[in-house]
């Protein structure tokens, strides 16, 4: 009996001990773990981060940005960092969730201009990972003492992307009546395609759509005129490829069945016809009336 009680006590205390830890998550808008920013965001975009916590912390939640993919125990331990305003211990333990913000321009680039380097927010042709890091310490359940172990928050992952994607490929151009249908394929980092249509080098129109939507159809063109087509790729951060794939297309007159029929002397000019529609409608109403009023019969 005594052995049983001791075993039970050990199991209960183990479970309680497991619950004494603290856990913090750092996430972007809509709970996203990752976010991509572009040079265009450097001027004024503020990134909002939501923190959530469970357990009891015995000190504030320290927050910082760092270049790279690793969050260390403290901001001081990181080579490149920018400290953010901490979340007070009381808020962390009572509110359980909250938000903080930073400017994209605050991202800590190594080799920045101040260090004699050239890297900074706004510089092109760079794809760099950053982390939004946080750390605190947990309160021990039974002793109430502050743990000596640092608890790191699950970090938010941010990518600064100013590297333009490769231009997509124009696979085929279909000649339609006063229109062209362009099939485009692109690399995995291309999200959207911008198709620019030119006539004798002058832009006529442009159309932007998702790469996975299907072929791009350009309407209101002139038959028997050759148009130049330029396809640019746009990635998730909004960077546009610097060069384009090119092709040419010429819309042509086509005959659908109706036009062919009319050319062959057909007299159909469409329309439902008041007589036909009226008769059909009346007949249907009569049947429905009968339907609703009829009695159920046995077979």
């Amino acid at each position: 009996m005594r052995t049983l009680l001791i075993t039970a006590a050990v199991l209960v205390s183990t479970a309680a001990s497991a619950q004494s830890g603290v856990q913090v998550n750092l996430r972007f808008a809509n709970g996203a773990e990752t976010v991509r920013v572009s040079p265009g965001d450097c001027a004024s975009r503020r990134v909002v981060v939501t923190w959530t916590s469970t357990g009891t912390a015995c000190q504030e939640l320290a927050l910082w940005l760092t270049e790279g993919t690793e969050c260390k125990d403290t901001a001081d331990a990181q080579t490149t960092r920018r400290s953010l305003t901490s979340v007070p211990q009381t808020t962390l333990n009572t509110a359980r969730t909250g938000t903080f913000e930073f400017n994209v321009s605050e991202l800590p680039f190594s080799g920045a201009a101040g260090d004699g380097g050239t890297r900074s927010c706004g510089v092109g042709d760079v794809e760099q990972e950053f982390r939004v890091c946080g750390s605190t310490k947990a309160t021990e359940l039974f002793s109430g003492a502050c743990s000596t172990t640092v608890t790191k928050a699950s970090p938010g992952k941010l990518t600064y992307d100013s590297k333009p994607p490769a231009p997509p490929t124009i696979d085929a151009v279909s000649q339609l009546d006063e229109a062209l249908r362009v099939e485009v394929s692109g690399a995995s980092d291309v999200n959207q395609v911008r198709l620019v249509v030119l006539r004798d080098g002058a832009e006529v129109t442009r159309k932007t759509q998702g790469l996975d939507v299907g072929p791009i159809q350009v309407e209101d063109l002139e038959n028997e005129v050759t148009y130049q087509l330029e396809a640019y790729g746009i990635d998730a951060a909004g960077n546009e490829s610097t060069t384009a794939s090119t092709a040419e297309g010429t819309p042509i007159k086509t005959l659908g069945f109706y036009e062919k029929y009319r050319q062959s002397g057909g007299k159909e000019t469409g329309g439902c016809g008041a007589t036909g529609g009226g008769l059909a409608g009346s007949a249907m109403l009569a049947v429905l009336g009968f339907w609703l009023s009829s009695r159920r019969n046995r077979s």
């Binding site: 229109a179 005959l255 659908g256 069945f257 062959s264 059909a280 339907w291 159920r296």
Partner: protein, 238 residues
């Protein structure tokens, strides 16, 4: 060989009544008030037969094959005695696509399509007295009525409207369908009874029917959507 097969079928049909007879008077059968039919068949409007049309534009664009027509029909019975009589309302859909033509001949990369949505209002008479009285599992029937057939034509996925004509409309006409149903209950009487007690389906049939339809606004100008064609399907009495 053909005679042998015919003889076999005849013997089979003669043998079935006894089986069916045994089950047709089941006292727990639910009331029967109507039927629902699903049918499929090849339909080809006689658009090339219109007076004044030179050549065969429909065949030239869409080729020689039929449109696949699918229809659903609801029937409501008002007489059940020596046979069953009622009215029916059906809705169908058929389409056909082909490459558009180039003015110089040949095919374009653009597609053109022809679509119809026939709506039928018909009377129904089924001579099912022998089936329910003597268990002969073959039910001939006739369905005369009116048909209204909305149609539309597309090119490149859009209506192919012209300056002097709209590429959509509707045509009214009349038609008569005649067919033969095979009462499936005789094959699995117990399953048929379960079908009735569980779902209220009194009888189920496989059928073949032939339709003669005159759909040209009773001789008016324009499209002639008439045709004579076979359809096959499944009918469930409820």
């Amino acid at each position: 060989m053909t005679r042998a097969v015919a003889l076999g079928v005849a013997v089979f049909l003669i043998a079935l009544p006894g089986e069916a007879q045994e089950k047709s008077d089941v006292p727990t059968q639910s009331p029967r008030s109507g039927s629902v039919e699903f049918r499929l068949g090849g339909y080809r409007p006689q658009l090339d037969a219109e007076e004044g049309v030179e050549g065969a534009p429909f065949s030239e664009v869409f080729g020689a094959s039929n449109l696949l027509l699918f229809e659903v029909e609801l029937q409501r019975f008002f007489y059940q005695g020596i046979g069953t009589a009622g009215v029916s309302l059906s809705l169908g859909y058929a389409e056909k696509y082909a490459s558009a033509l180039l003015p110089s001949g040949g095919r374009a990369q653009e597609r053109t399509g022809f679509h119809v949505l026939p709506v039928r209002v018909r009377g129904v008479y089924r001579f099912d007295y022998p089936a329910f009285r003597w268990g002969i599992p073959v039910v001939p029937y006739v369905k005369p009525g009116l048909v209204y057939m909305p149609w539309w034509i597309t090119k490149g996925g859009e209506p192919e409207d012209l300056a002097d004509g709209k590429a959509s409309g509707g045509k009214l006409g009349w038609e008569v369908s005649g067919g033969v149903s095979f009462l499936l209950d005789v094959l699995e009487p117990r399953l048929a009874r379960d079908f009735d007690s569980d779902l209220g389906v009194n009888h189920s049939y496989l059928f073949a029917e032939y339709t003669y339809a005159k759909v040209n606004n009773f001789g008016g100008p324009g499209f002639n959507l008439s045709d004579s064609y076979w359809m096959f399907g499944l009918a469930l009495d409820y």
